[in-house]
Amino acid sequence: MRGLTEALRELAYRLLREGEVELFLGYSWGTLPLVVRPCFATRPEQVEAFIFNPLCLPNLVKYLLRFEGRRVAVVVKKCELPSFRQLLADRNLERKKIRLVVAPCGGLLDPAKLQKEFSGQPLEFIADRGKEYVVRVGEEEKVLAKQLYLYPRCFSCPQKDEDLEPEDIRLEFSTSLPSLEVDPYAGVSYLEERPAEERREFWDRVFKRCIRCYACREVCPACSCHECCFDPPLPGWQRTVDWMSKAHWLPEIYQYHLTRALHVAGRCGECGECERVCPVKIPLMLLVKKLAKEIQSLPGVEPGILASYSPDDPEPH
């Protein structure tokens, strides 16, 4: 997939050199094996660091908020477009200053699954053959079946890139993701069918791990409020009206996660970043998907659904 990386670098070089953008937001290799990180270039000579491959997991669109008002190009995958559109609407970003660079993605790979197989050896991606990737490990060429190594959210890839502006760029590369026909709500349905007691034990266990680092909020493109209800508005002793204390106890943790799920309900682009960044692996997408599933059953589904109503809504008990 060297060709794709080359094309990306050429594009970034051209855009930065001709002054079409001030900043190019993409990916580069990180300092750990199999880890790719966000990379920022403001000068043409910096583009050599850029790469694109199936390990480019982070969703970069929220970084746009840091550079509001500047001309920025940002690499996105198709699955991140809903979160981009939501951010654009929520924060009223100037669309004409943003150049989307839609990277052809044949499905991301899960570093945790690869780690087990290759125990930290660097991989070089050679080709995408639809159902499998060809990689080079050391001297050897290997074939990775997507079915085995795919990143969980890619099993329900939307594969749509609508609503692009003429200035946006689609990088061309032969890639494809076969339809894998996985029910995106499988995890939700499984838990729904468990007895209430078991559900409570499950959430108690995973929420007890929460260290309240707020990484899920910081990374979330739907969490873009200027002021968050979980940040104390006043320092220390002046505080009188906190929603909740800083204690790492279940009442606070439940309040935080359930509120966050409700706040992003109907606006979440399901990019899965909250779950990826969680240092204690709380399955946050289960909450989000549960709400998405319920909201889909409401009449007249549209953005901002929880800020509207229909006379035909279901009756609470």
Binding site: I211, W243, M244, P251, Q255, L262, L287, P311, D313, H317
Partner: protein, 146 residues
């Protein structure tokens, strides 16, 4: 606290125009209902931010009731329609994390329905009493957090 001493604590968010008036009427008409309910008056059922409900449970409520005007009778024309959708979603979420459905209820009670108000409270307290203290959101002070 032994089980015998335990009494259900119900927090009721009542809309000023209908359900709060219904509570008033229940009192004036001398309908008896259990004293387990703490009433909080809100201008409209749609004033009830789902966070109010979560906070009530986190602070130790065993049940939460939201009551407003009948659909179509809202003083603010359509406030209770907004509330209905939002609270319905909240109910789905609370049940998903393991809460018993009876602990969080939404009812439409008009200012003329003092008897219905008393009956609703009575039924809810009975149901929550059978369920026992709320265990979801309960403090677990374990030394192995994180």
């Amino acid at each position: 606290m032994s089980v015998k001493e335990w009494e259900p604590k119900i927090v009721a968010f009542l809309c000023h125009w209908c359900s709060y008036a219904a509570a008033d009427l229940a009192g004036v008409s001398r309908f008896s209902y259990p004293p387990n309910v703490r009433i909080i008056r809100v201008p409209c059922s749609s004033r009830v931010n789902p966070q109010f409900v979560l906070r009530a449970f986190a602070e130790g409520a065993d049940g939460v009731l939201v009551a407003g005007c009948h659909l179509g009778d809202c003083h603010y024309v359509k406030g209770n329609y907004y509330a209905r959708r939002r609270l319905w979603v909240l109910q789905r979420l609370l049940e998903f994390v393991g809460m018993e459905p009876a602990r969080f209820q939404v009812h439409w009670i008009s200012g003329a329905e003092g008897a219905k108000f008393a009956e609703t409270i009575k039924e809810m307290v009975d149901k929550v009493r059978i369920l026992g203290p709320n265990r979801l959101f309960q403090e677990v002070k374990d030394i192995c957090v994180g």
